[in-house]
């Protein structure tokens, strides 16, 4: 046995009862508390999650009911629309408001055809319109021969 070992055994410190066991208890309690915290945390989360789910479920149910209600409203409007678009109803209104409606006739549709003047001719027209000198000349010339001619209308 060496001296150092002997000294330690004889000191007060080494002889104190293991009292004590305090660090072991502490760590055990901490562990338990942690486990409990985990469990309770999980439980709370679960409860909160369930609560949220149920809330959403309720909302979904309410929305579903709203959809059903709206579908019924649509069905009702559809019927009303069909009632209002029935010919007897329309004809009654035509008579009531004295609307001057007449049946459609294939002849009432007319097709408008736009015929474009060739570009070169169009410029000529513009020239003659704007060139007053030329017009005066032509008018003077024509007045001596007869009534003036409107070149634009002629074209």
């Amino acid at each position: 046995m060496n001296k150092f070992t002997q000294q330690c055994k004889n000191t007060e410190f080494t002889r104190r009862p293991k009292a004590a066991g305090k660090p072991w208890v502490f760590s055990f309690v901490v562990k338990i508390i942690l486990i409990c915290l985990c469990i309770s945390g999980t439980a709370v989360c679960r409860v909160l999650f369930n609560q949220k789910t149920e809330e959403l479920n309720k909302e979904a149910t309410q929305i579903r009911m709203k959809i059903v209600h709206m579908n019924r409203e649509i069905a009702n409007l559809k019927i009303k629309k069909e009632e209002l678009s029935a010919w007897p109803y329309i004809s009654r209104r035509i008579t009531q408001y004295n609307l001057g409606l007449r049946p459609a006739d294939p002849k009432q549709v007319s097709h408008t055809k736009i015929v474009d003047i060739p570009l070169s001719n169009r410029f000529k027209v513009v020239d003659r319109n704007t060139s007053s000198e030329e017009r005066v000349r032509s008018n003077t010339l024509s007045s001596s021969r007869g009534p003036a001619k409107n070149t634009l209308t002629k074209r």
């Binding site: 369930n50 789910t53 149920e54 959403l56 479920n57 309720k58 149910t61 059903v68 019924r72 409203e73 069905a75 009702n76 559809k78 019927i79 069909e82 009632e83 678009s85 029935a86 010919w87 007897p88 004809s91 049946p103 459609a104 006739d105 294939p106 002849k107």
Partner: protein, 682 residues
């Protein structure tokens, strides 16, 4: 100080007690979990499991373009729980509320609410009194009204009032197409189809209830993670799409109403069909009913006359026999027959024409509707050929429209024909056909002789999946052997609505109309009535490329009774409006046509005047030069009247009736020679 031994005893007692307690708990667990498991599980399940039934929606009926004809209108049934409704004062309040808001009978509601208990019979026959939990306040309350009432009930805080959402059948177009659509009734919460398409397609349109079983929370909402089982899938009824087009149907019904108002027949019907597809575009009958107005509904008007009724068609049968004779080469349009001045003795009986007629060509026989001429053509044809012809046009066969019951008409087999049959059947006597059969026959005349089945239903749609099942068009090969037959018969039928025909009033300006009038005496008490007639006009327009075949029949009209006079004008107005609606361009320019007609008339008048002047001048000259005593007498008209050509190109027969001299001149000048259209359609 406590001895160790006493502590030991107490410990033992405590242990024993605990053991017993545990044993009891264990037994209870065993009892609950094992022995009473089924019972308690069922009880618990009943508490947290809910069964919800959901009604499907009955199929709807639409027209071809998707316009709703029969729909489901949302409504609410209002119920009360008398056991919790409150005392007499409270019940009176509720009764008054509903009486003022939904127009229900106050006393009835009050009495129902005051029935707090009811007596029921047990299985063993004994009676017991139980609380009354159910009283009807009002059924089928309109959606908008029900919503307002629901809010008001919540505000008033009435107890025990419940609203059950449901649907009721609605016919938004009122009496439009009512006889075809039919209607349904409610019998003990069950929809019962009574007549029409509602009945024919009842199985397809009926919905199936859905059953959902789910775990519910305390407030009845399904639990998010709970079990939910669909015991039975909810299935909506199938939607039916008809071939009918609502706007044209409205035109038809409006004109038929006018006919009823002016000619006051006992009944009237009109059918319009597409000759190439057999689609019934519009169909109506009078009298009819409004399926939404059950109180004023006349059961006599329910019958579907167009499918169930038959009538002797009269002259509208003539084109069939003539088409058969033309097709077999027995006659040609210009073949002439002596119409015996209106009376012909055949097989021991006299056959009469409505007007005395002389010798007429086949075209004129159709144009003037000569019974004798048609009978003679049929006699030339022979019974077998006539029978074959009429059968090939579908007489004696059902049309196949989805309406029950449907008549196949009265058409005797060849071996049961008597000696008169051959002369009477071609003029529409001695046989009977339904309006639908006649329309089918005319569809064949219009489409070049192709047999066709009439279609009333275009497609059926599953509203949930969107799947569509279409009803096929049945279009057979032509029954004509000669490719010219169609053109020949159509040309003849065109004359009916042109000058000199029996139905000029049925002519539609701008279009060539091929048709035929029919006036048949009704067979009453074993004899042909002299006062009751069926007046019909059937035709197709535009004649050369027909868009529709239209039949208008008035049963027992008052006043005028000829088909041309009674039904012709309505044919014209229906056809005119429909052609405009369908945007079908006219066959010819009306202004040009009118101008040509006027010019022709003026020319003829000028020629006549010139001839008269020349004759007068010649007469003057001869009077001044001749001195014969016989010349002093000049009859105004020769004794034997030679044909006199009129201004319109008609020839006056010795009997005083105008006719056209030959087939070449029968065709009225037409402004433009249209090319022959192809009868086949894509």
């Amino acid at each position: 100080m406590t001895k160790y031994s006493s502590i030991g005893i107490r410990m033992k007692i405590a242990c024993i007690f605990i053991i017993f307690a545990f044993a009891y708990v264990a037994y209870s667990f065993y009892n609950v979990q094992i022995i009473r498991h089924e019972e308690l599980y069922a009880k618990a399940k009943q508490k947290y499991t809910a069964k919800k039934t959901k009604d499907g929606i009955r199929g709807e009926i639409y027209d071809r373009d998707g316009n709703l004809l029969v729909g489901n209108e949302p409504c609410s049934d209002i119920f009360a729980d008398p056991s919790i409704a409150g005392d007499s004062d409270e019940c009176m309040k509720i009764a008054q509320f509903f009486a003022s808001n939904i127009g229900a009978d106050k006393n009835v509601i009050y009495n129902r609410l005051m029935e707090k208990t009811k007596t029921v019979k047990n299985d063993d026959g004994t009676e017991k009194t139980i609380p009354n939990l159910y009283a009807v306040i009002q059924q089928g309350v309109e959606f908008e009204k029900a919503e307002l009432v629901k809010k008001a009930v919540a505000e008033q805080k009435f107890k025990g009032i419940a609203f059950k959402e449901s649907f009721k059948r609605n016919y938004p177009k009122q009496q439009l197409l009512a006889n075809i659509l039919g209607f349904t009734n409610i019998d003990r919460d069950q929809i019962v189809a009574v007549i029409g398409l509602e009945k024919f397609f009842d199985r397809s349109m009926t919905s199936k209830k859905g059953v959902l079983e789910y775990e519910r929370s305390r407030d009845g909402i399904p639990i998010a993670y709970g079990k939910s089982d669909v015991v039975q899938e909810v299935q909506d009824g199938l939607n039916i799409y008809l071939t009918v087009r609502e706007p044209i149907q409205a035109i038809l019904e409006e004109e038929l109403d006018k006919l009823m108002e002016i000619n006051k027949p006992t009944a009237a019907y009109a059918i319009m069909a597409d000759p190439y597809t057999g689609d019934i575009i519009a169909v109506a009958q009078r009298p009819t009913f409004n399926p939404n107005d059950r109180e004023n509904m006349n059961p006599l008007a329910w019958r579907n006359r167009i499918a169930e009724d038959t009538f002797e068609p009269g002259s509208i049968m003539k084109p069939f026999a003539v088409a058969g004779a033309l097709d077999r080469g027995i006659v040609r349009p210009e073949t002439r027959f002596d119409c015996e001045n209106g009376k012909w003795f055949f097989a021991g009986k006299i056959l009469k024409d409505s007007h005395p007629l002389g010798t007429l060509s086949v075209s004129q026989i159709i144009q003037k509707s000569s019974n004798i001429g048609t009978a003679k053509i049929a006699v030339e044809m022979g019974a077998r050929n006539l029978d074959e012809t009429l059968r090939s046009f579908g007489f004696g066969k059902k049309t196949g429209v989805p309406l029950k019951p449907e008549t196949s008409g009265i058409y005797r087999p060849l071996n049961k024909w008597d000696s008169l049959s051959i002369s009477r059947f071609p003029i529409g006597q001695g046989l009977a056909a339904s309006p639908l059969q006649l329309v089918r026959g005319y569809c064949m005349l219009a489409n070049g002789g192709h047999p066709i089945d009439l279609r009333l239903v275009d497609r059926i749609q599953n509203p949930q999946t969107g799947d569509i099942e279409r009803f096929p068009v049945k279009y057979g090969p032509s029954i004509y052997r000669d490719s010219q037959t169609h053109d020949k018969i159509v040309s003849m039928m065109k004359l009916v609505t042109q000058e000199g025909g029996t139905a000029t009033v049925a002519a539609v300006k701008g279009y060539y109309v091929a048709g035929k009038t029919g006036t048949s005496q009704k067979f009453v008490d074993g004899a042909y009535s002299k006062s009751k007639y069926c007046a019909s006009f059937v035709g197709f327009v535009p004649a050369d490329n027909p868009r529709f075949v239209l039949l208008v029949t008035a049963d027992e009209p008052t006043g005028a009774y000829y088909g041309g006079a009674v039904s012709g004008p309505y044919f014209k107005s229906i056809a005119e409006r429909t052609l405009k609606y369908l945007n079908i361009m006219p066959d010819y320019d009306i202004a040009e046509y009118d101008a040509a007609q006027k010019a022709a008339k003026q020319k003829a008048w000028a020629e006549q005047r010139a001839a008269a002047n020349a004759a007068a001048a010649a007469g003057k000259a001869s009077a001044s030069s001749a001195s014969s005593p016989t010349s002093s007498y000049r009859p105004s008209r020769p004794v034997t009247q030679p044909p006199v050509k009129g201004s319109s190109g008609l020839v006056k027969s010795p009997s005083g009736y105008y006719y056209r001299p030959s087939v070449s001149s029968t065709t009225t000048p037409q402004p433009d020679a249209r090319k022959k259209p192809s009868t086949a359609r894509n």
